[in-house]
Each structure stands twice: as C-alpha cells, then as structure tokens.
C-alpha cells in the first residue's frame, strides 16, 4: 500500500502490516520514537496492534537536543 510517511509518499512492502513492522523495517524499533497516524497519537503498546491502511498519513517523531 501507499502511505504518506513523514511527508514523503512511500510504497510499503507487502510484509509491512503493523506499525511495529514499519519501525522494524526502518530499524528504529529500539529507539525512542512516537508514531502518529492520521492525527491519532499512538502509545508504545499500540504499535503491535495497530494495522496500517492505504493512504495513511504517518508521522514518526523523536526527541532531539533543544533548549
């Protein structure tokens, strides 16, 4: 399926079904990240259970240095 991932239109591989799969694909499953889908913010526990759908708007954010 096709999703909008951090502002870029991406064609996802078939095996990427859940948010957890997506994070694993980008090798950030271990990192401190927060995922928002179509404006809905997910908690960590929801990563496993949340299935992706075509046209999803996905945001993956993290903490960076700031004042």
């Amino acid at each position: 399926m096709k999703v909008l991932l951090n502002g870029e239109s991406i064609q996802l591989a078939e095996e990427i079904v859940t948010v957890a799969d997506l994070l694993t694909h980008y090798e950030i499953q271990e990192k401190v990240v927060v995922v928002e889908i179509n404006g809905e913010i997910l908690t960590r526990v929801e990563h496993q259970s949340t299935r992706l759908a075509d046209k999803d708007r996905i945001e993956i954010v993290h903490f960076v240095g700031g004042g």
């Binding site: 991932l5 951090n6 502002g7 870029e8 980008y26 090798e27 950030i28 990192k31 401190v32 990240v33 927060v34 928002e36 913010i41 997910l42 908690t43 960590r44 945001e59 993956i60 954010v61 993290h62 903490f63 960076v64 240095g65 700031g66 004042g67």
Partner: protein
C-alpha cells in the same frame, strides 16, 4: 529544594541540550552541571537516512527528568499537539510551553501561550510556560494552573543577561509557583543575579553549549546558581549612595 508539581529537585539549574560541539562534551557538561532536568525538542525523525546517534539514547533517562519543549509551535493547537507527542513517549509528563510569536526575536506569543497552558493543564500535564517578563501575564499563567512560570531574561540565545530586573522581581514577589528564569542568561554572574532576585531556578542552554569550554562553564553555572541562592537567603546588604568605612574611626589619629 525546587518543587515543581509533585516532583522535587536538589538542583536549581535546568539545562538545555541543544547545539553542543560533541556528545562527549555534552555528556561531561550535563554531569558536572548536576542538572536534574534536561530540556529537549520534538522533531520529525529522519528515518530515510542511516540513523545518526541521538543524545537521549546515551542518557540514563532514569536519572534525569525530561522537559520537552514545544519549540516550533506558533499556535496553542500546535503546542498542544507537540506536548501530546512528547508525552506518548512514556518518558515524561512535564512540558515547556514555548509558542514563539516573532522569528527575529523568538519572543513568546502571550495569548497563544496562555491558551496552550490552560489546555495542557486540563490535560493533566505538568506545565512550565516560557513567557516574556510581562508581570500580569505571569499571574494569568499561574491562575491557569501552570506549575512554574519561566520568564525570559533577554531574547533566547542572545546572552544579554537580565535586562529588566524590575519586572522579574515583581513576578517573583507575586508568584504562587516556582519562577524559573529562562532564556538570555549569558554568564555565571547573570545566573547568580537571577537567583539573588529570588528566582527558584534558572534554565539555560547556549551560555553553556556556546562557551569555549562548555564543561567548565557548566560547572561555573552550577556554582553561580548555588551562590546566588545562598546570597538571596543570606539577605544582601542595603545599597548606599555614599560610602561607609569598614575600618573603625576610633583611635585613628595615632600620635
């Protein structure tokens, strides 16, 4: 002891984590500063490039309280969203409300800052709004239930120090929550002065990260803040217009 919401802290120094020359220097600076609260920004992750190191990963997050900011927000709505993203990390429920109203001066938007504060308090966050030194606005933020007010000493990253001690003193005199002087601190003397005015803490970043030797400056700042706090508690001498001798007058005309 600095009490913010339900939390207590030994250190009065809140340290920013932006713009250090290297993570090694930053780590050393954070440690020597003895800061317990570290600020962070929330940003879109660059997932399409090989992952860069991230300061947070190198930090024992059990030892520090994270204070994410809403930098980047220009409206209350954007600030609230960034706050929720930060909280969803499960690492923190404190938020520094930062709604900038002017790109050149990076000064805060009083109306949006107040709105964001009201909403985030309702949402159960521990809310620390960065604000101008507008005295009445500071009180309105208190009335909105914020857990600390953070008036700026001078523009963010300018290092101009405390331009208006009069307003800061007014804010402190009428404060019902901790007052943390945020932004503009450039040197240890600035930080000490903030504490002498009666501030409960100081939040700074560039003064340390942009010093030639950030680690040494971090130590200097932590000492200065302690010095200023003690100086405030000790009750400074009154200023006098004329001089008064410290050596006695008696027995002066010898022989």
């Amino acid at each position: 002891m600095l009490k913010i919401g339900s939390l207590s802290f030994q250190s009065r120094l809140l340290l920013g984590t932006g713009k250090y020359p290297s993570y090694e220097i930053q780590k050393a600076a954070v440690e020597i500063s003895e800061a317990e609260i570290l600020t962070f920004a929330v940003r879109r992750m660059n997932i399409f490039e090989p992952s860069q190191p991230n300061f947070l990963e190198q930090l024992d997050t059990t030892k520090y309280t994270l204070l994410p900011n809403t930098a980047g927000a220009k409206t209350a709505a954007e600030a609230v969203r960034i706050a929720k993203l930060a909280k969803a990390s499960g690492l923190c429920d404190m938020i520094k409300v930062e709604v900038i109203g002017c790109d050149k001066t990076l000064l805060p938007d009083p109306v949006e800052t107040l709105k964001a504060t009201e909403e985030l308090v309702k949402e159960g966050f521990i809310v620390l709004p960065y604000t101008s030194d507008d005295v009445v606005l500071a009180r309105k933020l208190q009335e909105a239930g914020c857990h600390a007010v953070m008036p700026g000493a001078s523009p963010i990253g300018s290092g101009q120090g405390i331009i208006n001690p009069v307003n800061l003193r007014f804010i402190i005199e009428q404060a019902t929550v901790p007052v943390i002087v945020d932004a503009g601190i450039g040197s240890p003397a600035d930080a000490a002065f903030a504490m002498e005015l009666g501030a409960d803490g100081v939040l700074l970043n560039t003064a340390v990260s942009a010093a030639k030797d950030p680690v040494k400056m971090a130590k200097a700042m932590s000492l200065a803040i302690e010095a200023g706090l003690l100086g405030f508690e000790a009750g400074r001498m009154e200023k006098k217009r004329y001089a008064t001798a410290s050596s006695p007058k008696e027995g002066m005309s010898i022989g």
